[in-house]
Symmetry: C2
Subunit: 396 residues, 2 copies
């Protein structure tokens, strides 16, 4: 009986946290209405959340002449770290429960050597823990541009030349974090969750625009992973079977050979042009190309127009099959949205550019790392009464 | 309080019915284990189901030396009617709760005149009610090869030349059935539910093979309808943008222009050949073509091989995007499975032929009509004690 009551208590704490997260500062009465709990139940639960440092008071509101205390999530109380891996560079994002980004860092790295990449991911993790010292840490999640096996903690990604790389064990060993605080998932799946977090529509598709092209699909409000965790590998839809370009997967005519970043950069400029320099961050390369396009450079504009047309072919298929409310385009598609996103029209499906840039996967990963706390707020310890501003991390 | 207890009771009755449906004859102890209810709770609920004529005793089993009475669903106790509409013909299917088909009838009909088609659908409904007289009737569901708006009870289908046809009102008025007993849904969505009913895998696609080609998609165990109820309209994926054939939708190169039944029949035989005779049922036309293929007729075989290749292009896209456990091909694909289904290989996705033929939508519709009883068994009235074999219909 006790266990059942406790389970109910954790679930109710989680419900209050999610309600505050979705609807901003609320009075106790509003929180009761919003969560479906009684005011008498809400009061002690709120006190519990405050003791854990998760919520704080936020002024008062007046409803029907009676003043009421407002409560909100405490910014920076608990943070999650999201790491993103791309051919040639790594990123780290720290967000708190409110979704605010406390840190975004990017660094070039030869990611084709997995052990070296894991060393650098561990460095990024340690620096994040140091740079946001006041937070409790929920955990770390790594966004993989390929297959992430969450059961074994391993990743396989053709573009990175990774095969069954033990990401979770490797990162836990290097940072000293417990295995249970380290997780990984597919980049597109994490990115679509980040988009869903800011606009929770039931039917949503996110398309990565990087060296690889993959879709994160939410249908009926739930992520579609497929029978073998391979749903959304749309870069390998064969749309140009007579095409001459071989894909990294060994086939010809994959959508990725038409609209992937490699194909696009190749179409934009000769081999020794600075846009091919792996030392430049993707965002910097896109700035160069945007400038060229705005100046009317013929080769750049031709590449943009051909890419927009090939993008339209594939997006039309996604829209026809899934009928999503919205398709969000990320990566370089978003960076060059005036040419690549604006021309897209696919029935009643809204096509828009992600505002998260190349870091969408990392942002989704940081939010995924926070899920542990959102599912059960009691994993965050109760703070000592009258504690100063500095809460020690739960795990760091 | 009373209402809440009643709600719980109905939910528990529904749970027992579904458990019996999924696992065949069970003892009271097995039913308790299978449903998660206590043996003390199960006993009076079972008595209730029996009083409604939904269950019956089915011999005994011996477990650990102790004999136990087995219970099963009573065959033919409650039936649902599924109606299917195709260009040129109509069908009716009656199934009971066990899934057994009690009646399948097919008739040619000029379906392009909606009022005439509704008259004939009402005839089929009345004949079904007469021909299975001992059943309680759950209701009637119509499978539409196009868009079914369940909120308004209307259907729009290009292939039938139907636009906002008031199917539910029209059929209710003609048969005297209450509006709440008449429903409609998209044919592919109903067919995939029929397939899911016999093999409940979480990620499943059904592809209709008729004049139109559409997919019913189940992901995470739930039907994907999309934001505007238009998901699965895969016949209109543009796979051959340079193709010369115009589609009924006004575009060029839709998958349907390559693999729809019209395109296939056109490729198989000249215009005056008997396979184009609308008086022949689709199954009969397929038998003619199968015979020709088996005799090595060059034109038929060429059409089959080209259709198999175009089918493979689209199936590859479905498999890549959705990563389903299984894709089931219906209609003429299934009728000519040796040439059209057997050659298909798409990663780890199993591709198989439906065993339900052109009536898969009708079968799914009959099962959907039974949902009302499966959700709440108390809609079936308690039978008079010592009643003879003839139960009067609840609504008919």
């Amino acid at each position: 009986m006790q266990a059942q009551t406790e389970g109910r208590r954790e679930a109710n704490l989680a419900l209050l946290l999610r309600t505050l997260r979705a609807r901003g500062p609320l009075s106790r009465a509003q929180l009761a209405t919003g969560s479906g709990l009684s005011k008498a139940t809400v009061a002690p639960l709120l006190a519990d959340l405050e003791r854990r440092g998760l919520t704080e008071r936020a002024g008062t509101t007046t409803t029907q002449g009676r003043p009421g205390q407002l409560v909100q999530l405490r910014p920076g109380a608990v943070c999650g770290i999201g790491l993103d891996v791309h051919p040639g560079h790594l990123g780290a994002t720290v967000t708190d429960l409110t979704g605010e980004v406390h840190l975004r860092r990017q660094t070039s790295c030869d990611t084709s050597a997995p052990e070296h990449a894991l060393d650098r991911l561990a460095d990024l993790t340690r620096r994040a823990l140091e740079d946001v010292p006041k937070a409790d840490w929920a955990g770390v999640t790594v966004a993989i541009p390929g297959r992430a096996d969450r059961a074994t903690g391993t990743a396989t990604a053709d573009r990175l030349r990774w095969r069954d790389v033990a990401v979770v064990d490797g990162l836990a060993a290097r940072t000293g974090l417990p295995i249970g605080r380290v997780d990984l998932d597919n980049e597109a799946n994490l990115a679509v969750r980040a988009e869903h977090d800011s606009d929770p529509v039931d039917d949503l598709v996110y398309l990565t625009g990087d060296h690889g092209v993959a879709a994160g699909v939410i249908a009926n409000g739930a992520l579609v992973r497929g029978a073998d965790n391979r749903a959304g590998e749309v870069g390998h839809m064969v749309l140009d079977p007579l095409g001459s370009t071989s894909c990294a997967c060994g086939r010809r005519g994959c959508w990725e050979t038409q609209v992937g970043l490699d194909a696009f950069l190749h179409a934009c400029a000769p081999r020794h042009d600075q846009v091919h320099n792996p030392e430049l961050a993707p965002g910097e390369r896109m700035t160069i190309l945007r400038t060229r396009a705005e100046r009317g450079d013929a080769r750049t504009l031709d590449a943009l127009h051909r890419t927009a047309a090939a993008l339209a072919s594939g997006l039309s298929i996604l829209a026809t099959l899934l009928n999503p409310r919205k398709i969000v385009l990320g990566g370089y598609f978003a960076a060059l949205q005036d040419w690549l996103v604006a021309p897209q029209r696919h029935g009643r499906t809204l096509v828009s550019a992600s505002t998260l840039g190349f870091a969408a996967g990392g942002r989704g990963a940081a939010l995924a790392a926070l899920r542990r706390v959102l599912d059960d707020p009691t994993v965050v310890p109760v703070k000592a009464p009258k504690a100063g501003g500095s809460h020690e991390g739960a795990s760091a």
